[in-house]
Symmetry: C2
Subunit: 148 residues, 2 copies
Amino acid sequence: MEDIAAFGVLGERLGLTLHYADVRAMAGLSMRLAPFGVTPARATAVVYIALNPGCDQMSLGRALGINRASTVKAVNELETLGAIERRPGRDRRANALHLTAAGETLRARIEQETLEHDRAAFASLSADEKAQLSRLLSKIRSDSAAEG
Amino acid sequence: MEDIAAFGVLGERLGLTLHYADVRAMAGLSMRLAPFGVTPARATAVVYIALNPGCDQMSLGRALGINRASTVKAVNELETLGAIERRPGRDRRANALHLTAAGETLRARIEQETLEHDRAAFASLSADEKAQLSRLLSKIRSDSAAEG
DNA sequence: TATTGTTATACTCTATAACTATA
DNA sequence: TATAGTTATAGAGTATAACAATA
């Protein structure tokens, strides 16, 4: 990727700056997680299930911002990987998602890699700057939901 | 997408906050650009070609951070859309990319929509905060290139 | 009727590998 | 040998639509 200045007027837009920062960060995280057989999207699912054991696929999908069909695919992949399992849910329609023992190990690695990645990716920022960035990003996030 | 707090330890990571802020912003921009037949990625290509008339596909791909094959696909799509054309380049291997008249009109709309989107998406930030965010994001960007 | 999950299908964006032509 | 572009193929991630089972 060339310098953002290559995009002239667009380069002055926060949106493009935000996007390219994210693309780079995600590429770095992808590489870190690859040895464990998961992408950042799947890793996030693992963490969600770990924190919400027994959750159904609808709530996982809602958390990830994806629909039912995409959630099925994500769950299938993690099941094939041996990280999670579908157990009988609160009624006969729903599955209860749980981590397996291997999934627990995976989660620990995911959290470690994610932490290390965060440290490396944002190493150029001071603690104050990180706090500022976090605050500013959260402010955007809570708003853009209202956007049409 | 649920609150980022749903991801526990991960929710404290800047990377996830950054990513979700970007996902939301890009979704909003996608919707704005859809009526014009372009995605944010294609729109960025249009702007690059407008600023670098006669550029070849390699330099466009470098600017977008994608490889040769993906660049061919992007250029094909924009050509089919009637926004750009391939002309003979600096030697018989290279194409010179140029906007058509329709492409110029498209570019004007892209810049307008992108500007409006930026205003809407970052409306909750003051001018000072926007400047801060831009500075912080640029700081990350210039570093994460060195990341493995 | 509404909800949960599934399947089939398709679309976007990306990549790798093998190829042509030109330099 | 190296560069520019192309094509074929594949993979990740998403979506819509139609369906079954259950509530």
